[in-house]
Symmetry: C5
Subunit: 304 residues, 5 copies
């Protein structure tokens, strides 16, 4: 995620970091070159009876803008839902540990339980980003539990099962009444909701045909644009063509980034920072001494 | 579902698989032919005093784009909701079995229960796709239960009743307290929510009149488009007409595919893969040895 | 509800049933006649200095399309919510009876309870459609209960109270613990949510002024359209004018149908079929022998 | 609320009641007069080199229509949410009393409790409409409770506290088990949700700047419209200008009405009728004899 | 928050307070100056063959309006959600204290508990606004608790833990049964939901690239607008250009304000007033004598 720099409105127009401009610069430059070619070739192909006017492109432009708006909505909704799910993980983690600590204040294994919770968050993050997990998780899980989790096709789900067993042992020992066990199970279920929700977003993209249809129409539109503009604008064609292309291509590209909110691109969610905040919170709730430092944005305003 | 191939932005413009282009190619080709006929006939019907300009079609095009955007929204919402329901089934299945296993860790019939859960998922999938079920379900259900389910007009609902009875027997034997029985019943209810939700989506389409009105206006619009464009664009008419038609017809067709998300077309949900993942997860949670292989996309990037 | 006929995309353009075309045909025909009159009168009123161009109507057309899109959204949301509520009734009915049957498997009055549930669904349906109820409900309710329900201003709510009393009697007899009584009460509350939700949709329409403002602007727009088009299109005016009018008027009319989803028009909900499905399900869950036949669409694809 | 009169589609164009036309008639008339002045002054200011064309206003008109559509959405969402909250009050009231009556069927003070519930609804209604309450509430509350409620800055919240105490007394006497007390408390909480939700809508409007920006641009747009239309339309300017202005101004004004859904204007919620229906329902559930008459729309189709 | 002044529709056009006009006046003035420069330079650069027409800007204007509408939606949704969360805090606070007071009516430490609740609200408000907290919180928290909260990286979460401990102590003493402890824990969890929800909104902005892309295209569009308008409008260019720029820039700026709803700008949430109302409510529920005065808007209609 790019943290917004506090800058004057005028300077924001020229900001380079955080926009998708770095990605699409070459495409806009191609559009610029094409416009110049079109200006030069105009006399030749006009003599062949070929002409294009703005009016039909106006219909097309508005239609594409509407459909692009729809796709942006759909992709942004995925981003928002992904963030919401991680917020729910924060809620469930804190509530679960608060209830456990209030109910079993003298349990000697509270530290073990809090580490299971932290391991769940890190495990989910690394699963979503397809990163290797065993190393980092070994800091939080016992050897036995680590092996069980790594053997599972869904390690995070296995950790939930281990947490449920941790609680069930105490229910069988009579330290937790059925009603409190039920109450804590609701929190585990909340974490299961987050897990399956994130898996759903990661595994089921916006139907590929949407991406394809819009990608295709946006680029064909931008390619034909200089031909349509040149008879009206002549020398100004490159500038207007690039500005219009920028509006459409940048939003198409941004939608593509937001569609997969769990990556590490500029506009993806800062899962590292969220996990880090969760770890600090849970360790502080257990009154532990060694608390990791808070993650801050780097000098490019980037927070992963 | 088509899994998105990782390709360069330029090559994506020419991708054939996964788009609806295969379906509508013949219609776009007809539009192309019509445009050529229109160019040839232009002198003749202009002499009859017949003329069409772009301006009125601009009003119509924008209006259709807005209404098509609305219908796309409605159809996409069905697709998203259907995926959400299957995600909730994943959540409920895992949570139900986690609670059962934590509460009754030594029950000898856990394997029977986990198979009831797997049968429920497969049964729901095959009901939604109107496929014959008895064969596949016989791998998970006892003969008696299979007969009960097949005799019912809603087999999946019957399986839920059998699962409830499985739990109720243990409640009556005193192995489950009322509060834990209540807690597990909430999970069964979650599965009932998924069942009825999928039935609702499958049985109640977007009002047919929406489909009809938009289908009709989109195609009449595309048929009249070459007539409107020809006086402005002349030789370029076929290209612009096909591009505009493509934008409108492809989105109309895609909306139609998304409206029924449980089919096996390119943009439908990969229910086979979801059921397969659920089966693997549940069997692993029960520490079973024989786990089926994970379903992967085929060489056309297709995942059913 | 009209069940979608499986037809070729080309034939769908000419489908008559299920569209709102039957309703608005006369209005479109008037528009056609008006266009012809406008063509004939054109020389006369041009000589008076009266002229209309397409450009201002373009602003108006786009604005109306946007607002119509908004109203369609609002009306469609009511239709979707109404369907959702009936889906929730299905869920609550099944879950309630599953829990009752699992908890009280040997209760001799299960048949009575299942009929109370069926009566609730039929009663709600007939209340929403303002149909007389006593006759049909007498098949499901005892005389005493029928009298109590009919005397109430909200019979469905009274049936809920009777169901609650049925359960409370068993609680007082010690057959239901407090926790299970609480659990079953949650299901009754779910049915109460459906009841009040349907009453809300039936009693509180979309603010009348929306209907009025859009109805008025759509029709005034369509009346003035031929005047605006005629100078550009001349002989083609009637065709284009009718096509644009069709787009706007049909969506205005469809929105009006969807606004009241509980009626028996082409695009209303098939409440008869839903109640019928619910009745079959509940009777089968109680292992009864006499199951009513499933309701199917008639030969006009109509399902009420 | 205006109840929709059943009228022919043609007559609806001229309906006066219920539309916002009564409110904005003078503004449209001013627009009409301005258009005539513009026609008369056209030769003079054209000679000064001042000219306005439709094209730039087309950009502005579409932009305003999109933003107005957004604001309509926001205001309508408040109206829908307000109605939803009152529907939830209906649900919670019925469910709470059903549970109380089923659990404590012989309690002599049931009549007192049902009046506390009715008082809550009336109190909320009058708080939202800023009407004096003491008189009407004295019919439902004991003197002591009335004094407590009136002394509080949020009387409805105080009534909830009194209802909670009514139940808590029975818990302490052993008539209500903890689990049923908990269950009834959930209903009280539902009523608390409605209360705080309505307060939120009443106290936090749509950000004032939205209202201001759109109000301002709509009116400036309508004022400049005749100047832009006159060179194209000449004598027809007043008619087209008033029609376009009507579309924009009426939706701006309606959004303003819907923004505050608790008032007593034409398009506000019929809180009197809802409270009346709730009172009838609750009294009938308690089998009381004196039931108030049902509120019906008056001869102007108005229901408050 | 600006409270809406009740003013005539005509005067609203010239209102200064509460709109974003104060912020963007200089930018509009620059646009005005630029337009005049463009008029003066028109003959010179036309002679160079440079020309711009309105048509391409129409495509761009509509596209920007659609995307701006989308961003407004996203930002307004954050504002609405933030307000909703504070409404939920009001609900949870009242319900929690009602349940505590009804269950433990004679507990001598009720005053302490109510102050913990008030401290939570103030602490959340000051955390979101990044204000120093220790001073104000010392009025509500014991020294020990204040220290614990201030030492935590999330003080509000620590206060929740303290509230949970307050209840857990009473559970261990046998004053609260497990079921009522569970019920009260649900309320604490509701407050945890509010806390994490507000943190989420404050820490995760709308993806920076949206802000950047739209900011950039809006300003480039407004800069090029005078060049496009001048050949059509000539002397009227400055007025029309400023009006169109106002529409776009003001909505861009407002969206930016709404994006961060917890600030103290004109269109931000009145958190001081909400906390104040919550404090009054809770103290009155505990029948305390010293109630703070209600916060009212100042003379500029501003409520913080």
């Amino acid at each position: 995620m790019i943290v917004r720099p506090q800058q004057h409105w005028l300077r924001l127009i020229f900001v380079w970091h955080g926009s998708v401009l770095t990605k699409i610069f070459s495409r806009l430059f191609l559009n610029f070159l094409l416009s110049i070619v079109v200006i030069l070739m105009l006399p030749w192909y006009t003599s062949l009876g070929i002409r294009l006017t703005v009016a039909p492109f106006s219909i097309l432009g508005v239609a594409i803008a509407i459909f692009l708006g729809f796709r942006n909505n759909a992709c942004y909704a995925r981003y928002v839902e992904a963030r919401l799910l991680w917020g729910q993980l924060m809620i469930a983690s804190r509530s679960l540990f608060r209830e456990v600590k209030n109910t079993l204040p003298d349990d000697p294994a509270l530290g073990e339980f809090v580490r299971l919770q932290i391991a769940f968050a890190h495990c989910l993050r690394m699963t979503l980003r397809r990163q290797p997990q065993a190393d980092q998780l070994s800091a939080y899980l016992s050897e036995e539990n680590l092996r069980l989790a790594m053997d599972s096709s869904s390690p995070a789900n296995r950790i939930l099962l281990i947490m449920g067993e941790w609680l069930a042992v105490r229910r069988r020992k009579g330290e937790l009444s059925d009603i409190l066990f039920h109450s804590l199970n609701i929190r585990l279920n909340d974490m299961s909701i987050v897990l399956a929700g994130c898996e759903r977003i990661a595994n089921t993209p916006v139907p590929f045909a949407y991406t394809l249809i819009l990608h295709r129409t946006v680029y064909l539109f931008c390619i034909m644009l200089p031909f349509a503009l040149v008879s009206d604008l002549h020398y100004m064609t490159p500038f207007v063509s690039v500005l219009i292309s920028y509006t459409f291509i940048s939003l198409d590209t941004l939608a593509e980034e937001l569609e997969e909110p769990f990556g590490v691109e500029n506009n993806d969610l800062p899962l590292d920072a969220i996990c880090n905040a969760m770890e600090i919170d849970l360790l502080q709730m257990n009154d532990e001494q060694e608390i990791p430092a808070r993650k801050m944005p780097d000098k490019y305003y980037q927070l992963t």
